[in-house]
Symmetry: C2
Subunit: 312 residues, 2 copies
Amino acid sequence: MSTAISPPAGVGVIGLGSMGRGVAQSLLKAGFTVHGYDVHDAALQQLAQAGGMPAASPAEMARHAEAVVILVVNAEQTESVLFGKEGAAAALPRGAAVICSATVAPDYAAQLGARLQEMGLLMIDAPVSGGAAKAATGELTVMGSGSAQAFERCQQVLDAIAARVYRLGDTAGQGSRVKMINQLLAGVHIAAAAEAMAWGIKAGVDPQTLYDVISQSAGNSWMFENRVPHILDGDYAPRSAVNIFVKDLRIVLDAAHRAAFPLPLTAAAHQMFLMAASAGLGAEDDAAVVKIFPGVDLPHPAAGTNGTGTGA
Amino acid sequence: MSTAISPPAGVGVIGLGSMGRGVAQSLLKAGFTVHGYDVHDAALQQLAQAGGMPAASPAEMARHAEAVVILVVNAEQTESVLFGKEGAAAALPRGAAVICSATVAPDYAAQLGARLQEMGLLMIDAPVSGGAAKAATGELTVMGSGSAQAFERCQQVLDAIAARVYRLGDTAGQGSRVKMINQLLAGVHIAAAAEAMAWGIKAGVDPQTLYDVISQSAGNSWMFENRVPHILDGDYAPRSAVNIFVKDLRIVLDAAHRAAFPLPLTAAAHQMFLMAASAGLGAEDDAAVVKIFPGVDLPHPAAGTNGTGTGA
């Protein structure tokens, strides 16, 4: 069972949201037979139109799959689709590989790896970075950990969905640990970009000029460069929503709390995302955290656009 | 008086620390006659050895200068060298230009521009970014504002010291406003890099791996990429000291406070730098803010190095 899973082998995708949809497309393009499951019928219909095989349950999907990529939003959903009613884990053939790409607590990922191993399944702890755009083009970054056997089996699957695959250790949990630190920084940097733009505009600086100068200076971050254009365009259609960072920073804070470790900036940023969610902005783009600052004349969408963007 | 100041005209530099020393070198290299002033004799001797003319007071220096670049650390020192005992302002020839490059509150910069104008002097509000390394090579970034006449007069002076000169408006204060936002982000990002590395190491991630992955991912920032290597090397020789951000974030917070504007992340980051300063780390490199996190096994300097680095 340690030979590589190659097209046209069956590969399952659980969770066909903006990330899972892109991953399914990339797998189809690479020639795999893609079986998909999602709780939303519309997502299943979209998969069928793209050439994939919709399944009525995770279990039904699993029977046809040598590997499953899980792209649900958190540990609770991961648990449910693997071990809940009509779950995938018991239905997968022995030696199949579970590629867990939801952002979950590192301890949960480690435990999951041990449980799947007891069932004769392989696991790659494989959180991803890059967003919906990179998912659609098969250019995600995978922060992976797992056995050499699991990586060998899944090499062509990973190659189909990712431009860069980090191997961060031999056991599940190590990938999720690095992803957790990435999310900590991503969340703090989005909140910092919002705070900086809000105060800059309030202080009378032209927002476009501020963006042009800072993005070429020592104050720049990946997130500043990527998210501030949403503020400049007045476009808060969700590429990644405020609620994602409400959730992800909570995962980081909980993990640190269990180790009695202080994270002052993460805690402050989390409060800012909560403030945005509590103001009804949870489903807007995460750049909408800028709206928590009162009395700031934020840029409006250009005339002729509806301000909801493409959602791409 | 609106013709450009050209070599070998006299240009003054006040404040010959790591930034001013580099600026003086760049001006000498461009062929200007450089008159310098600093409160430290050693800095004056170094200037003389480099080919510059040390002065006994700002006033003495000013008599020989058509333009003066001020590279002291804050508004108090700027005020003192211009208007204190033996200050430069009254001694400068009419039509001379004052290039104010200390990080100061935007309101102070605006008032200073008006006061100098009343004395028949030009001013460029010209805070810089790039650090000692870029100062030495004449490649600073200038976030400038001031009259067209001032920029015309100083074009060759600015060209000698900067790779990039932003013109952010016609009046003093506008440059300092943009610099303030840059410092806000720079300070928050250094503190965030420290928080992320501390928690990552505590959680069991290899620090070098963490740096390699994050610096290629969405969690990256200019400061993460630049400062984390100091942590990896265990090298806290000050390229820029903790105390600089104790000072600069205070300037940001004070300006926002005067406008009754909240800056939650800036305030949290400032507390972290204060905690580092209060632990006796104020003169160490700003990356030493990572040391405020207890129980973290930070990397040690490699054997055979003394851990104090080059200070470059």
